[in-house]
């Protein structure tokens, strides 16, 4: 008989792990309470009263809507570019062994491994040297660059699990390369791509450090929040936006987890 069945953890370990998880989650939950507070000027706790009026106020703020629209457009286009580039790169790296293969995985990971400020200022100084004015596309350029890695990570993990003999079988049965891609490869990697796309979207939607260097005067949602944190105008509106941002990023993550949960490499571990 084995002694380790049903063995439970020492009490100290349980407490330490529970405290650690609480430390990770309580601050985020606090945001939800503050979204309903009646207090306007300070961060006083406990909230003197609860109200939903700030949701209406936020709803009628054009600057919030503009920021949200810009963020969504940037995230959508960056995700699309990252999906194409990340999948191509993953397919190349996982199908074949060639000289410089390691260097390519390093190159893909680098934009996320180096501190964001380096990527940001590098892009800004390149724009300055090349006399490129800030625009929607300068933001996209930065975002797509670091979104490639999440798509790549998810796609590589899935390619590793997909057997190469399926492609050969498809070819043997008379399909050409495009048909094989359309009917064999794509259905196999679809959920991994969807998960990678979700994560890339969440990453782009939330990114602030690189964006401050590439946006010029434009405001995405995180830039709007940063402005509010440095120079607060209407704190309750910030509270509501913060809560909405938590919810908007939460859903893609849960969905991406759901898509890749059985056996894949961890969907989000490459952030």
């Amino acid at each position: 008989m084995r002694s380790d069945r049903g063995q439970s953890a020492p009490l100290g370990l349980k407490i330490a792990a529970a405290c650690g998880l609480l430390f990770l989650h309580l601050p985020i939950l606090l945001i939800f309470v503050y979204a309903f507070t009646t207090e306007e000027k300070s961060f006083v706790w406990p909230p003197p009263g609860l109200t939903t009026q700030w949701f209406a106020v936020t709803w009628n703020r054009p600057d919030v809507w503009e920021a949200l629209s810009l963020s969504i457009r940037v995230a959508a286009i960056s995700t699309a570019i990252a999906l194409v580039l990340g999948t191509l790169c993953a397919a190349a790296v996982s199908r074949t062994r060639f000289f410089g293969r390691e260097a390519i995985s390093l190159l893909v990971i680098l934009p996320i491994a180096l501190p964001g400020i380096i990527t940001g200022i590098a892009l800004r100084s390149a724009f300055a040297l090349a006399d490129i004015p800030f625009s929607f596309w300068t933001i996209v350029l930065g975002h797509a660059t670091f979104c490639v890695v999440v798509v790549y990570n998810n796609a590589v993990a899935r390619f590793r699990r997909t057997s190469g003999s399926m492609i050969e079988a498809s070819m043997d049965l008379g399909a050409d390369g495009f048909q094989t891609f359309r009917h064999v490869v794509l259905p196999n990697i679809a959920t991994a791509l969807l998960a990678g796309g979700m994560l890339a979207f969440a990453l782009s939607f939330d990114e602030v450090i690189v964006t401050t260097f590439t946006a010029g005067q434009q405001q995405t949602v995180p830039i709007w929040m940063l402005e509010e944190l440095i120079r607060p105008r209407q704190r309750p509106v910030t509270n509501v936006v913060a809560m909405v941002v938590v919810l908007v990023t939460l859903l893609p993550i849960l969905f991406a987890y759901y898509l890749t949960r059985d056996g894949d490499q961890i969907a989000g571990s490459g952030k």
Partner: protein, 321 residues
Amino acid sequence: MTIAAVQSKPVPAILPGNGGMRGALSDLLWRRPILLLLLMLLPPLLWLGIVYIGSLFALLLQSFFSIDEFSGLINREFTLKTYGDLFQAANLDIILRTVTMAALVTLASAVIAFPIAYYAARYARGRWKALFYLGVMLPLWSSYLVKIYAWKLILAKEGILTWLLGKLGLLWLLEAWLSLPIVGGNSLSVSFTGTFIVFVYVWLPFMILPVQAALERVPGNLVEASSDLGASPGQTFRNVLFPLALPGIVAGSIFTFSLTLGDYIIPQIIGTSRLFIGQAVYSQQGTAGNIPLAAAFTVVPIVIMGFYLWGAKRLGAFDAL
């Protein structure tokens, strides 16, 4: 009849090529995998090579330019003057402060991450395992600014932490801590202590994941064998678990260290007026307009991380990623 028909016409060993442009292209790519490989690699390499590596070189190039102190214009001639400016006492202070903070944050993250990672790797099963995984993943992916904002709410003078300590009758402890030099300040949200807590909070999931991955690979019977042989839990931790988890901890520390080195938003929102590397870079390129010095400043974290990665590789941290 059909069988006979098939048998009467011998099928060639090599099928004829697919017809049409599309077919021809498909055949060509199948016959020359190198071509396919190049076609697949070209777009991402062009993008990353031009946009990213190109920008990094532009940055490096700028660090060898200098700024004309009178006109404020950038003088595009090769010089090492900017690097000379970098090593002034005030700038060295900034570098030292940032590196110390990064080291402390890394240490604290490792201590807090270990129990969570160990529990998740060794004891959590089935539903609990998924819960632990999401429990780490959700904070990791939650909005960075919202997390900072949440801590601004918590650490504010009128916020929940002061209220909680007041209820517990521990306000004197907070007062005593805040009156200390260096780590103290007017309130936690404008002190190094606050900066430190927020850094640890924001980067903690980056430490938990690789440590858990390393601990997953430690067979449970190693721990049992150690206690069978008479080791106390403390001895088992020191001599068995810790050395095996070390590559994971080092892998996690790459993130916590690098992210702390480059961050400029956390110390700006929760912290004192004394600068960190990220803030120095940001203010040099923004308000001061001194892009060469900003560029030279960014070389510091790159060099530090270069050495760090080199050391981490020797410790086998990359296998734990």
